[in-house]
Amino acid sequence: MAKVIGGITTSHIPAVGNAIAKELFDDPYWKPFFDGYPPVHAWLAEHKPDIVVNIYNDHGLGFFLDKMPTFAIGAAHEYHNEDEGWGIPAIPPMPGDAKLSWHIIEGMVEDEFDITSCQELAVDHGFTVPMQLFWPGLLDNPNLPRAIPVSANTVQHPIPTLKRALDFGKSLGKALRSYPEDVKIVVLGTGGLSHQLDGERAGHINKAFDLMCMDKIVHAPEELTKISRMELVKEAGSQGTELIMWMMMRGALGDDVEVVAKNYHIPISNTGAGMLLLECKD
């Protein structure tokens, strides 16, 4: 049977992709950020997951306002990115696992989650930057897992509640663990933490709130579900709503998890950048 071995959350700031391309790992601005990742590389090298379920939010590449799915799951054999209009580097197509995608979709719809399935899905920096961060070299990396993108709407309100996000993750985890093949699965939740790009409040970052979320999400994620969406915008900023993806990831891991690695740094671009690696214990 399939096993969910752990989850990793990370910010997915586009500038990180450029910093990787330029190898700015020891640059004074970037070092406190990149120094968080070697423990994750070591963990991934040890456990070698076969599959990565990459939960991110599309930022206007894969979806437009004409049709905006609240939750969408990729069901393609491979996933392409594009330059998004401002020159993000193209990466090679990422191999998918359509059979497992459809297993997840079947399981979650049976579980009463209404999923938009996507046989074609252009993936943006929310998906690609974490792939680059965790599996340097991508296709040249022998440990690159097959990827399944899951996108949540944070572009347009109403966005899903934090409770729904956590429940989504629980249902996703149930579907994953019911897959009959012996595959090891890691779940990513990308985005956040606090940041705001738009309006007179641009540049808003809330360290205390971010650290509280990184603490609670480990053993008391239910407490975070009490935060309303408007409170989340107020505390974490307009784009800090990306905490939703962290909650989706957390829900998929089950109750008992252990922190393997953790990092937080202000600022990367306009963002309080957070990273958390949780290993499943049950």
Partner: protein
């Protein structure tokens, strides 16, 4: 007319909640910006900005905001920052450039503000 509680948005200073109302107001502007995902759309805009804005049915207020590269104006007229970022890309403006513009700072002052956030 009374609204259900779920229609109520907090008033957060300096922050626009991009909801259905704003999504309808900004539809043409955002649709134009979405087309900038492709090089063809970017080239067509640069070759004839007025014609391209007319093609997507931008309002006069939206056109003025685009002509003036006025990000707050675009947001007021229904622009969503994720789509507007693609227009900013055409103008070679970074998120720090537009952060400075929206907060009345130079780009360097805005970058310093971000660095200072680490002192929280």
């Amino acid at each position: 007319m009374s609204h259900a509680s779920f229609d109520q948005h907090l008033d957060i200073p300096g922050t626009t909640i991009f909801d259905g109302e704003m999504a309808m107001k900004g539809y043409g502007l955002n649709k134009m910006c979405y087309s900038f995902n492709g090089a063809q759309g970017r080239d067509a805009f640069l070759a004839d900005p007025e014609g391209y804005m007319a093609k997507y049915g931008l309002t006069d207020a939206q056109k003025d905001a685009v002509r003036n590269k006025d990000v707050l104006g675009m947001i007021r007229e229904g622009g969503n920052i994720y789509y507007l970022a693609k227009l900013a890309g055409i103008f070679k403006l970074s998120v720090q450039d537009i952060g400075g513009q929206q907060t009345g700072m130079t780009t360097d002052e805005f970058k310093q503000k971000l660095l200072d956030q680490n002192k929280q």
